[in-house]
Symmetry: C2
């Protein structure tokens, strides 16, 4: 890993295998606070998704087997649905959930997020596991890096308030 990995404020993406995307970002806040923002339906609209979109939480039942569904509205009014279920929730350390874009039903990603305490700041590492390399590459081509960086920037701004 490069030094960049441990620099707050930069989202770093890696593809350590042909079916994975790993992202790392360090937030300047204790992991209990970071974990709380990841799991609080009231807070999701304040940071989840690109800035241009308005996200509403339709469902968010943060426990193993619980479902989540977010609707993201584009400025032109178009709505895009995202959904999944939680497989593991271990505060404040780890969340495993599925992720599915409703525009491509049945293409299901397993996302594992870990929250690591770095002397008061928090490294969030997410691993997205796809069924196939084709699906993984489709996600990369869709602009995931830009979207995720913007989401992380918004989260960092919220934590700084």
């Amino acid at each position: 890993m490069s030094n960049q990995t441990d620099t707050a404020g930069t989202t770093v993406l890696r593809t350590p295998s042909d079916r994975e995307i790993v992202s790392e970002r360090v937030f300047d806040a204790p992991r209990e606070r970071v974990f709380a923002l990841y799991t609080d339906p009231q807070q999701i609209p304040r940071w989840w998704g690109p800035r241009r979109m308005t996200t509403t939480v339709e469902e968010m039942d943060v426990r193993p087997g619980g479902a989540w569904r977010f609707l993201a509205r584009e400025p032109d009014g178009e709505e895009i649905g995202f959904r999944g279920v939680y497989r593991e929730v271990i505060p404040p350390e780890r969340i495993v959930q599925t992720f599915e874009w409703e525009g491509m039903p049945g293409h299901v990603v397993v996302e594992t997020a870990t929250f690591e305490d770095l002397d008061g700041s928090t490294k969030v590492t997410t691993t997205s596991l796809f069924h196939t390399t084709e699906e993984r590459d489709g996600m990369l081509a869709s602009g995931m890096e830009r979207g995720l960086t913007e989401t992380h920037d918004r989260l960092a701004e919220l934590l700084a308030r």
Copy 2:
């Protein structure tokens, strides 16, 4: 492939990679008829699942993006849910759908079924693709081979009527 593969009446399972299970079964009926039984909600309770269970179709919207959900009731009354979505439906050749046992939410399998015309009989090949080898092995350990053979036997009996 062994000769057994082309023998009607035997369900053969293979594990060609560390994340797949492939099954093959030849049915003594034209593929239009076999495909019709796979895609008709009225017919599912007559063949889907082990004999001891009573299967009801809660939802079955056979088109790309459409959802399906079956409830299988054990003799003691316990109900087991299965669900997924259709990704591709190409009559009478191919169905791609997801499969999820509700007892293990978020563990999603991609199942591809192909229907091959063998001079009037039909070879059905299903490929189940898992996110991990661990999930694949869990499915094998759950008694999949026996259950699938029984399901195929029931389907063959229905086709013979």
